[in-house]
Symmetry: C2
Subunit: 215 residues, 2 copies
Amino acid sequence: MAQEDQKDEVTLSQFLDAVASGTATPGGGSVSALVGTLAAALVEMVANLTVGKKGLEAQEAEMKRMGEEAHSYREALGTTIAQDINAYQGVMKAFLLPKATEEDKRNRKEEIQKALKKAADPPLFTAATSLKVLKLCQKAAEKGNPNTVTDAAVGALLAQAALQGGVFNVLVNLSALEEENTVKKMRQELKRLEAEGIKTRDKILTQVKGRLKAE
Amino acid sequence: MAQEDQKDEVTLSQFLDAVASGTATPGGGSVSALVGTLAAALVEMVANLTVGKKGLEAQEAEMKRMGEEAHSYREALGTTIAQDINAYQGVMKAFLLPKATEEDKRNRKEEIQKALKKAADPPLFTAATSLKVLKLCQKAAEKGNPNTVTDAAVGALLAQAALQGGVFNVLVNLSALEEENTVKKMRQELKRLEAEGIKTRDKILTQVKGRLKAE
């Protein structure tokens, strides 16, 4: 599967088959980014089903902005699907470097460390951007067309899952990274994203459940 | 977008655009089913990256069975993507029935109730099947190739999000359904699925975080 096709030309079935296959990519990192795009698309859906609807004129401008913002996150996360694959393949390539001489070994170790650091970027982007999508889900649940409240709730579930999936895929790279300071800072940032994500999701779900008389 | 194309022929971008558009379908229900298929595909990936690997021979038979089971859930959830759209369109059609005479009104009300009851089936199936996928994620995390532990974790996040997304989409139908007994029973079943899902997901995440030294 050509890497540039991950999002634009590939069918759902082809993507699912590629995930299921016995190759390391696309894996959890790319799938997390894809789930972030699904959450963003649900926010856009709420916006599009609110703008132009009778009785919801007061929210129109805000919903339009929300939809545009969600669309930009959808685009960015869509690009991340392929970036995650490329970065992971960079790590695998570094592991295959020669290790015959001492110099080889030093060089290989350096390249592995560089590749691991680089491979943390796409899932970190997925986590941070999914948190932004999650905050839009909150707005969508509060101010969007009441008929779409479950779509906003599903968006929140997916955005949080994408965020947390991103976090796991950064962590797996950090576990082999040797730069202690970078690792420590990154772990703190991941904890912050995770905590804010869970808090925001739970707030949305409680609110939506209240409206569906499920609590 | 033709309904039979939802999964098989449609590209990722087309599906995302269809979700984002200002029509009620595909919405949160279909997206939840799709996310369940992604979780199942990740379980298959773990199985495929375990079977035939040196040092993992003891798990081979179990992983093969796990992969086959996950594949069958992926197929079933894939079919649910379109079924959810059809069922929802059945509800919208019932709402458009004539209400000129008393008989019309009685008939319309009956048809709406029938359609709502029917529309609860696909998301209920998504929730129940995603719980099965989630249990496979636990097995994948415990017995799969250690290199795929984050893929199993992402699978668990997605399966639980799909389960909960299904629950919300049943609830939104129940909120307009008048058969008290059916509603009561269904709510109990949803609560059970939800509680078991959260328990299973959290168990997996704690375990995987421990292995990634993130706790």
